[in-house]
Amino acid sequence: MKAGQSLSHLTARLLVNLEDHFMMDRPDLVLAHGDTTTCFTTAISSFYHQIPFFHVEAGLRSNRLNSPFPEEFNRQTIAPIARHHFAPTELEKENLIKDGVSSSLITVTGSTIHEAVQTMISKVTPASKACFSELNESRPLVLVTLHRRETTQLLQNTLHGLKSAALSRPEALFICPVHPNPLVQEAFQTYLKGTENIILTEPLAYPQFISLLMRSQLVVTDSGGVQEEAAFLGKKVLLARSETERTDGFESGLTQLIGLNSESIYKTVLDELSGAVCTINFPKINSLSRASEIISNEVQRVVG
């Protein structure tokens, strides 16, 4: 991310870059994922250039245009442009149908992230494991990732809650890979730096992150992606946000929405650290989604 880039500047830059590329080397079919500014601008550029656009991880909805911001707006804007929608589950398919998308244009695929995590687990070697000298076998590990734009103002509360929890439980180690967003960097530096059992680190390489996730007792996050990864690995997740469109981990009770209140975050983290380590086994490989194969089949049907 360029330091301090605004959404407008980012959107404009990506639109122009994509157009330059499409003019120079026009694809016949474009695929993008989810609800980021990248996916949003890719859909718009594809539309302007009349190139069929396929949307992966389609159909997530909060039905509140401002939350998550700007992702919900992105999703709602991408949907009418997409020629085909790959929904992770039946729930997202239903959301799209409610928005007027024909069911013939929707394929339920499962989540590609399960395939990604499975591949990464097989690649985690002792050498690729994240190394922190403070982390020994017996020490409870809390993995923290917080970055959301609409919660930046509220990030302070979450960080206060975490700091209090860390001070109350010095034997636990809190590792925070910090998002490069300058506002997020500043908040973490201001509120958490100097606490002995809190480690602020750069974003980790994916195998390292997965190895830490596998090792962790508790995950505190506002990221839907981390929620998915942790739920897949059977980890207890405290979601520091006011709502979520993702259902991962809720059925099993391993994911809990804790809001953005300092006191509630402090209490919940302490409760979880006092409890027994709670994990379930991640699904066996044969029960995995074959999302990428299903998507390939649909692409083949179109491009021949």
């Binding site: 991310m1 474009v30 994922h33 590609t112 999302a291 692409v299 021949g304």
Partner: protein, 48 residues
């Protein structure tokens, strides 16, 4: 052969689209291209 483009820009997108990219490459070979928008430039390198 028709050209297929996958566009990514952030690390989560790279991670989540990696299985799709690999599956499409396997089936369609070099006609599949990966485009990075550079939204989060320094976070992209691990995903693929």
């Amino acid at each position: 052969m028709k050209k297929i483009a996958i566009v990514i820009g952030t690390r989560p997108e790279a991670i989540k689209m990696a299985p799709v990219y690999l599956a499409l490459r396997k089936r369609f070979g070099n006609s599949v291209q990966l485009i990075s928008t550079g939204q989060h430039r320094e976070l992209l390198w691990q995903g693929t």
